[in-house]
Symmetry: C2
């Protein structure tokens, strides 16, 4: 009887391959099967980050995930991907799933995890998130001592964003994209525009950092707004 | 004239040396001068994580930081540490500061950054935080789609914690330590005890994971409570 393989959900960090952890690098370099999401058409940011580490002999399972507001097409893509991954695991191969950032922080790996963790051995390898990467690149400490940190997805409705922005110490707005103008107006209304920093594609050669007032609209999907309100870094 | 060195604030991740990034590993392995905080008496968790990578020839600048509620003694320790680091930088050496987790996420590096960044070239190397490490080890996805993530330090007053706990989707309570019973009571009052997971020293050989109801009191400083309220991992 074949012993089933292990499913590895491997965080790759924000984009610079040097920010991959040693454990992630070793798993990728030794992989017989890798799997990753890609946009319909084939581009995969996760694969691009790890490209130089994937063995030429590795089999690649590509999950083309449609970017639509409707959930059913993406659900179908993860169902199909999980089935192909399960087949490899059942055949005794380990499968290394490549994940941008961290697998459990706004990552698509959690959809595979929900489907496969009840059936197979799983190890999740945490990665550097875009949050701390953006802060590092911008030279902005995120939170010290008893400060709180709030992470908000940009697509949330205005009223919810406004309430949470008011209460926050340090504030991270993710998934900015086409919501940039709206988020900028909300922050401006709260008197926070001067403290808001925009970071796009942090740690990649094409990274851009700007005061939010000067940020492009619409922004790319991989962009973020940081507002550090309460930092008192002198201790 | 000597060209001053560069100050590197290097995140080491949550504790397992395999979760150090490739960039951090290379900087440590090539270091002529490393610096790190230690408890009065000499134990340094940061140094322990990186111990096998520090060259035998490296000079070590130890900052003994007293753990007292008063700020002045710790301020004095960072003042003195920054002065010694500045001396090495002025002499032309790079200095690699070892930081548990991420340098800008509740890390003491930000106190050195505030003192030295106006004077020297600085690079911050982000690291894996204990937040995503605990989630990975517990098998608990943190946040998907439009869910928010709230990070709260345990020492905050009850009223503030209660209000923020009520509003949160996914909730991370840091710096649990001697606040464990109080935090447990607050979560219980909000009907969240069943969903609260306690993780201690994540990714180390001595790691412990328990339902919060069974967690030890007091907890060690390096412990965390995760509450995932709204996760819908099937997409």
């Amino acid at each position: 009887m074949t012993v089933p393989g292990t499913l590895y959900g491997v965080g790759l960090g924000p984009g610079d391959p040097d920010l991959i952890t040693r454990r992630a690098a070793r798993l990728i370099e030794g992989a017989r099967v890798v799997a990753y999401p890609a946009l319909a058409g084939g581009d995969s940011f996760a694969r691009a980050i790890a490209a130089n580490m994937i063995p030429a002999t590795a089999r690649e399972i590509v999950m083309e995930v449609p970017m639509t507001p409707a959930r059913a097409p993406a659900q179908a893509a993860y169902d199909a991907g999980a089935a192909r991954i399960a087949e490899a695991l059942d055949a005794g191969d380990d499968v290394v799933v490549l994940c941008e950032g961290d697998p459990f922080f706004y990552g698509s790996f959690m959809y595979l995890h929900a489907r496969l963790a009840p059936l197979f051995a799983v190890e999740v390898v945490p990665g550097v998130t875009s949050v701390t990467a953006c802060a590092a690149r911008a030279g902005l400490p995120l939170a010290a001592r008893n400060e709180t940190l709030t992470v908000l997805p940009g697509p949330l409705p205005d009223a919810e964003l406004r309430a949470r922005i008011r209460e926050a110490d340090t504030l991270v707005l993710m998934k900015v994209g086409r919501h940039l103008s709206r988020l900028r107006a909300l922050l401006d209304a709260e008197g926070l525009l001067d403290r808001a920093v925009y970071v796009e594609r942090a740690t990649l050669p094409v990274e851009r950092r700007l005061p939010l007032a000067e940020a492009p609209d619409p922004a790319p999907y991989f962009s973020m707004i940081l507002v550090t309100k309460g930092a008192d870094p002198w201790l």
